[in-house]
């Protein structure tokens, strides 16, 4: 069998009321309710996203362990998920994430120039964070906004047909 169709459930010896925050637990519970009761682990992705958003944009090992305990999962199963998907950051990041799409339609539409501009002007390489901690710059694979190339995702908002001048304005407007 190349897959297991039984949940990996392990019970951690911990009082769940001490994990994360009451607000986060309530939000995670809303997701848990979408899945069969024995498949709490299905909520691991939304849970990690919520916890990451709450923690300034990244996941520490301690937080991943708390998610594991809360969802009755082995820690390693949570690490596997957190390391597999591109939107989880496992190290501290800037206050904002600027993700430039560099897949083929955006490349043909000028994404490279845009990335060179950001690199030069803000002195930050893809994957890096500016010295003032304002932004983490990422090169992203296809954002699915190809008719508005080049597309940029800043935190949770898409910006479309972004020129170097436009990205400067967007970045200026961030705190």
């Amino acid at each position: 069998m190349s897959f297991r169709n039984t949940p990996l459930a392990v019970i951690h010896d911990v009082d769940k009321e001490t994990l994360l925050t009451p607000e986060l637990r309530a939000e995670i519970d809303k997701h848990v309710a979408k899945y069969p009761p024995e498949w709490k682990q299905s909520a691991v992705m939304p849970a990690l996203t919520l916890v990451q958003d709450h923690n300034g944009g990244w996941l520490s090992r301690e937080l991943m362990d708390q998610v594991a305990a809360y969802l009755d999962m082995p820690e390693t199963a949570v690490y596997e998920v957190a390391t597999f998907y591109a939107m989880y950051d496992l190290e501290p990041v800037g206050r904002h994430k600027v993700c430039v799409c560099n897949s083929v339609s955006c490349m043909l539409g000028g994404a490279e120039e845009l990335m060179h501009h950001i690199e030069k002007k803000y002195n930050v390489a893809p994957g890096g964070t500016t010295a003032d901690g304002k932004l983490t710059f990422k090169e992203f694979e296809c954002l699915g906004a190809c008719r508005h190339a080049p597309a940029v995702m800043v935190d949770k908002a898409y910006h479309e047909c972004v020129t170097p001048e436009a990205i400067d304005k967007i970045i200026d407007d961030l705190d």
């Binding site: 190349s2 897959f3 169709n5 039984t6 949940p7 979408k34 069969p36 498949w39 682990q41 299905s42 909520a43 691991v44 992705m45 939304p46 990690l48 996203t49 969802l71 999962m73 199963a77 596997e80 998920v81 597999f84 998907y85 591109a86 939107m87 989880y88 560099n102 897949s103 083929v104 339609s105 490349m107 043909l108 539409g109 992203f140 694979e141 296809c142 954002l143 699915g144 906004a145 190809c146 008719r147 508005h148 190339a149 995702m153 949770k156 908002a157 898409y158």
Partner: protein, 429 residues
Amino acid sequence: MAENQNTVCFRTLHLDAKVRHTLESYRSVGGYVQWERILREKPDPDQLIDELKTSALRGRGGAGFPTGLKWSFMPRTKPGQKYIVCNSDEGEPGTCKDRDIMRYNPHQLIEGMAIAGYCIGATVGYNYIRGEFYEPTARFDGALEEAYAAGLIGKNLFGSGIDFDLYTHLGAGAYICGEETALLESLEGKKGQPRFKPPFPAQAGLYGMPTTINNTETLASVPVILEKSGKWFLEQGKPNNGGPKLFSVTGQVERPCNLEIPLGTPFKDVLEMAGGVSGGRALKAVIPGGSSVPVVPGDVMMRTDMDYDSIAKAGSMLGSGAVIIIAEGTCMVKVLANLAHFYAHESCGQCTPCREGTGWLARVLDRILAGNGRPQDLDLLDNVAGRIGGRTICALGDAAAMPVQSFLKHYRSEFEHLIEHGRSLVEAA
């Protein structure tokens, strides 16, 4: 032409942009009439599936598998939970249509999923949306709330005894989750690594239960097919290529756009609707179905119609309907290197030929692009691509290999020139 546009998934597009995604707008174009009829009359699901078979609707995510046939594989009467899953993990470079369905017409997707659930015996559905789609997800969730509040989904709908619950599940950035079994793994809270088949999802899918996975556009097409008949849908396109289809026309084109037009529309008309090649340049090449399909020279495309069978004859695939336009003056080595990097980044790492091979392809292409290519590199690329294709669990390996082979076939002289002279044949230094 205009009267044939936006007849199915985009049928709310002409309404006021502020409200066209609402329940009221959707009802104004005939929305939920089919679902309410089903709840009232409880027709034989096989009849509905036959209508879909007549329509020749084929999977809009890229594989083009006949939807009616797929639904008929489900063991509908077998006891136990069954699931309908919508694949909204739109990520094939060049493809941006499902995003617009969820932004502009989310209720039609809900109705399509509910009808699918009825046909295959599923009382629960999940819409797996890629993690970056915050805005489309908010739209879809808003529509879900409206549908629940109106009693259109939920338990014992209108006293019919029929249940249908629908939930969204947000991804977190992984192209591979668009592969249906990887998507199921992801829904189960795991890394998105594709499963061996068989068992196929219709036998053992989500949580081990019978499951059907369809693309967003496929499911959103269903209510209109039932309203206007399978025959009507078929006649919108060509035999075996039923219906209109969404095309995302992007790249070096004057007006990048999504077009919902009949299958079989000549490519030259599509290009014209998008305003022609940008900057008045000549057409060099087209990737007609998303980044995974073979590239086709511009002159061949100008003689080709946009349907599954015609594009297959031109040596490529309709795929997701993402039409990527490449203008004269563009370096094809650079385009291919971009594609190679995408697949190297998105390989899930499960199968050795893909995990290692995609990295080889990207590194060798980088070397050529940097002017450090070796004469034997083109054979090496061909060799590596040939050793990936057909040797992996899922199609990502083939998707990485096919562009390489087609670019080398049609544009070999550009690669040779770069290797020999250290600079591009077509781009000014």
